[in-house]
């Protein structure tokens, strides 16, 4: 909270002049028909995105030159608020003259930036970005129609930040590479979460399925688990987890010790394994059968300890009889 938050902002006051101009007098409002397409020897593409139920929807019309893939002209229609109209208008304009592949690189942030009066001041308040700027999505719809592809195959990666179009993988890679622990650190390397901030953490303007704070936490957890995992697969006994130490000890007892004792009518049972000081492991065993009354039990104990040390390549084992 601060002085600036005490008086509720007015969203209309935060619209740039360009937004106001475009919403009142859109330049590329309209539609194309097959007749228009034929006249200009172009392919007509009509694509929709959004729905009335969500409160915003847009339809994009393209005339594309099939020889060069160039978008010769564009028009739009829209169900939505003023910013939806203004951003659709600029979006249509930005695609004209580009190839379909080039057009697909246009992000919502590009549209918003094109509507700024002052390069450092957003064209409209952040909460408007998601409800009304559908540029990228409708362009992808149109492009996939042109290419005869499934739009989902184009949008295959999970986008976390819709404004700057940053994928989850890109974010995870940054976290791993730079050992990122906070959103502030993350934003040194990416634009993710810098505009409308909805994707930073829950409670923003728009509800998201995944947030940057979660990705940072999950990725760090994974990194940590990865460390543990590498410990499990290690074959250096001293670096193993207790569970794996126990498993290894059991294995040696079964394979290298039991048959010797069995020959004398006895056996040994593992009672417990404790980690004591200095990473040393105390192995508690109990003799069964003939061994329990054998005079050579101490020697046997020594034999077991030496076998374990030899097999597990460690000197950090002490065998104790219960």
């Amino acid at each position: 909270m601060a002085r600036g938050d005490l008086i509720t902002g007015n969203i209309w006051e935060e619209y740039s002049q360009k937004v106001i101009d475009r919403m009142s007098n859109p330049r590329f409002l309209g539609e194309f028909s097959e007749v228009d397409a034929k006249e200009r020897k172009a392919k007509l593409i009509v694509a929709d995105f959004g729905s009335e139920a969500c409160g915003d929807a847009v339809r994009l019309y393209w005339l594309v030159d099939p020889k060069t893939d160039k978008i010769l002209d564009a028009r739009f229609k829209s169900f939505g608020c003023g910013t939806a109209i203004a951003s659709s208008d600029v979006m249509a304009e930005l695609t004209i003259g580009k190839t379909v592949d080039e057009a697909m690189k246009i992000t919502n942030l590009d549209v918003e930036r094109a509507l700024r009066d002052n390069p450092n001041k957003p064209a409209f308040p952040p909460q408007k970005m998601h409800c009304s700027v559908m540029a990228y999505d409708v362009i992808v719809e149109a492009a996939s129609k042109y290419k005869g592809m499934n739009p989902k195959s184009i949008k295959n990666s999970e986008i976390v930040c819709e404004c700057a179009r940053v994928t989850r993988k890109e974010i995870e890679d940054i976290i791993k590479e730079h050992n990122v622990k906070t959103v502030e650190e993350l934003q040194k390397y990416t634009d993710a979460g810098t505009y409308c901030k909805s994707c930073v953490r829950p409670g923003g303007h728009e509800e998201r399925s995944v947030y940057l704070v979660d990705i940072i936490e999950e990725t760090n957890k994974k990194i940590k688990q990865g460390e543990i995992l590498s410990k499990i697969v290690t074959n250096v006994f001293d670096d193993m987890t207790l569970l794996n130490k126990i498993k290894s000890i059991e294995k040696v007892l079964k394979e290298k010790v039991s048959y010797i004792l069995e020959a004398d009518g006895g056996s040994v049972e593992l009672v417990d394994v404790k980690e004591v000081e200095d990473n040393e492991v105390e192995v508690l065993i109990e003799y069964k059968g003939a061994c329990s009354t054998c005079n050579a039990a101490v020697l046997t104990l020594y034999m077991i300890e030496e076998t374990l040390k030899k097999e597990l390549e460690t000197d950090k084992i002490r065998v104790v009889q219960v």
């Binding site: 409160g55 229609k77 909460q127 303007h205």
Partner: protein
């Protein structure tokens, strides 16, 4: 031309009220001071109360505590039961409705954090709750029933009198948020059977920053604002003399103009509504017999609400949207959906609320402009074209 049709959110001050307000700003004497200046102020307040008590049908043994707003009054009532609960009362349940203003919903959400429980009753296609459902929601530990008089958005009026009878039957205190009542309905707290009733002067052509909280004699009460012995110790803070005197005047004028509201303003409202319905693919909501006489709530298929507000604003017409984009949370469209409308239409709602100062000329101006704006916006609209062709 400027046409202000958002009177359910706030109203312009009546010129007569404004004159009285300004005139009384010079009475700076503190009512608690014993010298002459205080005595003069005291007299003014007594006169104001002489107007306000009969204006809402309060009895002398009841309180009308002056507050800053309906919001303050609503908070005072809800939190009275929170304090009681925190002091060991078994009563921890509040029954209210989904149609409430945030000044009820937010304190209800607040008291839940302390372990109280809240039931929100749903409304029907006329925006009204079912009194049987209300009765069914009552529990052994119900501390309070709180139902608004009417919605600022849908204009739907709740069956307050019936609710009052139910509350009485079970001996449960009943609070009514009356922000939309005064000037649009005859208010008599005894007839309505309410224990608490809140209002704000700015909703009936009085000044902002002053309102009232009626508390029936004997109803539980804990102050929200502790301070001096103003309002009998029930609400601290220096008395807003000019505001109170102006509010009393505004109340008097509101009651005096009730006939005008019922017969003239409602007729203008009907005219506007009829003309809206002449535009293809429009609808209005809430049966008139259950609706505030000054309110039209309508949908315009294919036109998103904020886009409509913008175009209306461009020609000097100020209305409200019950839908999404203008609100921070973007959750909107809830009003029309609550009235049973399809999600596709829910974002196209516009609310026009008139006042006794709305003229026929103004309504004619709106009627003249509206179809043009609708045509322009439907031209932009892809979905309207789809509706027509589909």
């Amino acid at each position: 031309m400027e046409v202000y049709l958002d009177n359910n959110s706030t109203t312009p001050m009546d010129e007569e009220v404004r004159a009285i307000y300004h005139e009384h700003e010079k009475f700076y004497g503190n009512v608690n001071s014993i010298y002459q200046k205080g005595i003069k102020t005291r007299k003014l307040l007594i006169d104001a109360y002489d107007v306000m008590y009969p204006a809402i049908g309060a009895k002398d043994e009841d309180d009308i505590i002056i507050t800053s707003s309906t919001t303050e009054g609503n908070n005072t009532v809800i939190k009275t039961f929170l304090y009681n609960f925190l002091h060991g009362s078994e009563k921890k349940h509040i029954t209210t409705t989904v149609a409430e203003h945030s000044s009820i919903k937010a304190p209800c959400a607040f008291v839940k954090k302390f372990g109280m429980e809240v039931t929100y009753l749903y409304t029907n296609e006329n925006g009204r709750i079912d009194t049987q459902e209300l009765e069914d929601s009552i529990r052994e530990d119900t501390a309070l029933i709180s139902v608004l008089f009417a919605s600022n958005e849908s204009g739907a009026i709740q069956p307050i009198k019936e609710i009052g009878e139910t509350a009485k039957k079970y001996g449960i205190p009943f609070h009514c948020d009356g922000a939309q009542a005064i000037s649009k309905a005859k208010v008599n707290v005894a007839d309505l059977g309410v224990d608490y009733f809140t209002f704000s002067a700015h909703k009936f052509h009085g000044p902002k920053g002053v309102g009232g909280l009626y508390v029936r004699n004997g109803a539980p009460f804990v102050p929200l604002i502790h301070g001096g012995n103003q309002m009998g110790g029930k609400r601290g803070g220096s008395i807003n003399t000019a505001g109170i005197v102006a509010m009393a005047k505004a109340m008097e004028l509101a009651n005096k103009n009730l006939e005008k509201m019922f017969y003239e303003v409602s007729k203008l409202r009907d005219k506007l509504e009829q003309e809206i319905l002449k535009i293809p693919d429009t609808r209005s909501y809430v049966d008139k017999k259950y609706r505030l006489p000054n309110t039209v709530i309508a949908s315009f298929r294919g036109i998103e609400g904020e886009a409509m507000l913008w175009e209306l604003n461009q020609v000097g017409i100020y209305a409200a949207t019950g839908s999404s984009c203008s609100s921070e949370r973007l959750k909107g469209s809830e009003v029309l959906e609550a009235l049973g409308e399809d999600p596709e239409i829910a974002h196209t709602g516009i609310i026009f609320s008139l006042s006794r100062f709305t003229t026929e000329k103004e309504i004619d101006y709106v009627i003249e402009r509206l179809p043009r704006i609708v045509r322009k916006l439907r031209d932009i609209s892809m979905t309207y074209a789809k509706v027509k062709s589909g």
